[in-house]
Amino acid sequence: MSTSTRTQVRFPHGDVPRRPRGRRRGWAAVVAYVVTALLILPMLWVVVLSFQTNENILRDPLNLTELNLANYEVATQTLNLMLMYKNTFILASVSVVVGVVFAYMAAYALTRMEWTRVWLRNGLRFYLLAGLAIPVYILLFPVYRLNIELGLFGTYWALILPYIAAQLPFNVLLFTGFLADFPVEVEEAAVIDGARLRTLAWQIVFPLMRPVVATLLIFNIIYVWNEYPFAVTLINDPAMTTISLGVAQFQGFWSVDYGAMMASATLVLLPQLLLYAVFQRHVVAGMTFGAVKG
């Protein structure tokens, strides 16, 4: 926003900034810090409460003098957090890898390969992207029935397949967006050298898609990690509990022990924030790309 330095150089005679620069910036900084602090306070509050005793939370939650780790002992001993993480990890790794690979294959065919029936290609592209407009909630009950009919109910596939389908429109959108702008010369040279489709798609173009792939992997992982509506509908076996399902049960599980509930919540919250901190570049880049380009 601030262009004052350059303006001054170009027009040395006048047009002095109306307000002193230092003061203006100072105010903006203070407001920005305060607003951000207020916005992250709710998440911090859970972490703070997790170190408090249960009696204190009920009686005087703002008294932060007696902090200890007892809640974490209770939480880790009672809850099977490792099971939730394991299940979510299995669901995420299979559905994300398969989903991204299939989406890439479809996008490659739809943008880089020659179709004798162009209407078919355009129709398929529209068909695959139309899913972006349809709320996932309309799918819950039919998918539940479908899983029973296919005999998948109670297996990981019951969630993996709808996860792939639900993410496909977005994945195809991002891949086709990037592939459409991608120069064909490299592929043409490879074709002259005798490259086959497999080589072209996987060894030449796919490695160049690395930034998109990274963004999509992060997005898909976040999606599966946080997904609740499908999980609550399609899973009834406690051994298959995912992280989201686990969180939903905390309230019932710890109906009196709020300290343990907060400790459990923190144990879910911190890995999510950590993952985000490591990959935040890809998250924000992918988000703005998808929004501005799509």
Binding site: R6, T7, R25, A28, A32, T36, L39, I40, P42, M43, W45, L62, F102, M105, Y108, R112, M113, W115, L124, L128, A133, P135, Y137, I138, L139, L140, F141, P142, R145, L146, L161, I164, A165, L168, V172, E187, E188, V191, L197, L200, I222, W225, N226, Y228, P229, S244, V247, A248, F250, Y258, M261, M262, A265, L269, Q272, L273, L275, V284, A291, V292
Partner: protein, 291 residues
Amino acid sequence: MRWLSRPWQLAGMVLPALIIYSLYFTYPVVYSVLQSFTDAKAFGSSTIVGAENYTSMVDDPLFWSSLRNTAIILVISLCLLLPGAFGLALLLGRRIRGAGVLRTMVFAPNVVAPILIGLIWVFILDPHLGLLNELLRLVGVAEPPAWIGGTTLSPYSIGSVYVWQTVGFIMTIFYAGLKMLPGDVMEAAELDGAAGLKRLRYVTVPMLRETIGITTVLVITGSFKIFELVVQLTGGGPVHLSETLVSYTYHVTFGLQNYGYGMALAVITSVLGVAVALGYLAFLRRKATAA
């Protein structure tokens, strides 16, 4: 590259995605629509009842309260989220020490599971043990309001939590839009005497029309989709009066196992969400050509 595009090669590339998508996306949508015209229940066979499920919505008070709650959440989101996120984008787009870190932090709630966000906010909004009322009592409010659990304030609270969770997301889109504005236009505007609010009103906002359109559609469709926050904050209670369209649909389908009616609700909710978003886009386009 015609030689490598034989039909079987094209099919091999497209079919894996196409099959999963058709089976788990298209088929369920078609199934929902068909089911919404039957009286399918948990047990027994179903018969076609025509539009009966749709007409019975008119007499269903819970449908209307869910619609009202969804509308409240939608209006709150539009009124708070868009200006708030835009202001935040302007603020965090300035050359402030650590602005990048601040933008990262503001976005963080979007990667946390919505179901966990709901749980976190219970400990702030709960009338008895929540932080908010604790603070209100501290400053002398004897009877602080019931933010969640009651029927009056619940939708407003759900909407506000949604705003809190999503503001960083919308802010990031605005920020990207602001950064793509051509710098020379902004400088020219400043030289022409359009600084501060004036420049914002006559230069920045009109040039961001596209971005504003995208964010508004995202906010509209997002408000219709809120589910986890309702589950965690109020559970739809008391007596289902704080349900939204989506959570009420879930309750009818899986709680009452009234599948025909549930699918009709699902269809109506989807159509409403898409219609409001499309209607808004059409409105924007008309305004753009009129201007």
